[in-house]
Amino acid sequence: MTLLLFLFDLVLLSTLLVLAIAALTSPEPRRAVMFFIAFGLWLALVWARLGAPDVALAEAAIGAGLGGALMLAAARRAARRQREGKADQDDDQKSS
């Protein structure tokens, strides 16, 4: 039983680390945010495993849910602005 729990903890921790690294190193903001949301949900699992259901609830609701929604909106805006900036540059090049 303890061995099973140890293996479970090992899987929890290694997946958490992989998700964190994936979120940090992802070049595209949208994908990074998605990794971050997955990371937040996984972290909620870790908190629950540590016996802190209050923190797990807050992490899942605020950290992953609302934070993720806000960052997705921000990433969309950033992408749109970048696209518009690029279009402006193209226009400038055409006109010059």
Binding site: D54, A56, L57, A58, A61, I62, L66, A69, L70, A73
Partner: protein
């Protein structure tokens, strides 16, 4: 970013990690004695709630929660100062609209439940407020430009309501002679419930308004809110 800046950030992060490791080491090797958790559990019967986390958040450390509400309010002010919100999405199709009309009332109900259950089990104002905020996010995704919130004027009042009620409760206890946010034992449960309810509504409004991402636009049919 240029190379020295990257190196600098890496170095600072390493230092930060070392400090965290040291703190962890100190916490682990501390001699067993009267720790904060024991003190918190010992005075739990006096706090008016039976969930130790809620007791810490709204009774022992009510100051912190008050300041957290202030932080949220400041964040919303910053977002509103950036300009008008972007126009909303196009109205949802029938499948999404039907789902939203089911999920949003359920979210509000669950929020109320989490607020009430926070007194004796995991839950509380922030989780409940997050659920209300999530309902607003869903409404905005389904095409409501204002995320289900009332007019800008009402939004301002609701966003301030949480911190105002909290501060008023604190001032009331001060006038009653027990000190700022030190609840008299007989009233503590109801004062906590009052402050938490106002905080929940405020948090929900602030989070939903933050998702709209700017000052709410004035709408022609301002009276007809959803």
């Amino acid at each position: 970013m240029n190379r020295p800046a990257k190196l600098m950030i890496g170095l600072l992060l390493c230092l930060f990690a070392l400090v965290l490791l040291w703190v962890f080491h100190v916490a682990l090797t501390q001699p067993p004695g009267a720790r904060l958790a024991d003190l918190a559990l010992a005075s739990l019967p006096l706090s008016g709630v039976t969930n130790p986390v809620t007791a810490v958040l709204v009774n022992y450390r009510a100051y912190d929660t008050l300041l957290e509400l202030a932080v949220l309010l400041a964040a919303l002010l910053g977002i509103w100062s950036l300009g008008a919100a972007t126009p909303g999405f196009q109205p949802a199709g029938s499948a999404l609209a039907a789902m939203v009309s089911w999920v949003v009332p359920l979210l509000i109900l669950t929020g109320g439940y989490l607020l009430w259950v926070g007194g004796y089990a995991p839950g509380g104002a922030f989780q409940a407020g997050a659920l209300l905020g999530a309902a607003g996010v869903l409404l905005r995704l389904a095409g409501d430009e204002r995320a289900g919130l009332p007019s800008e004027r009402a939004q301002r009042r609701l966003a301030v309501a949480g911190i105002a009620v909290f501060a008023l409760v604190g001032l009331g206890t001060m006038v009653a002679g027990t000190g700022f946010l030190t609840y008299p034992q007989r009233w503590s449960k109801w004062l906590i419930l009052l402050a938490e309810t106002a905080a929940t509504v405020s948090i929900g409004v602030i989070l939903a308004a933050a998702y709209a991402g700017g000052k709410p636009r004035s709408r022609a049919s301002d009276g007809a809110t959803p």
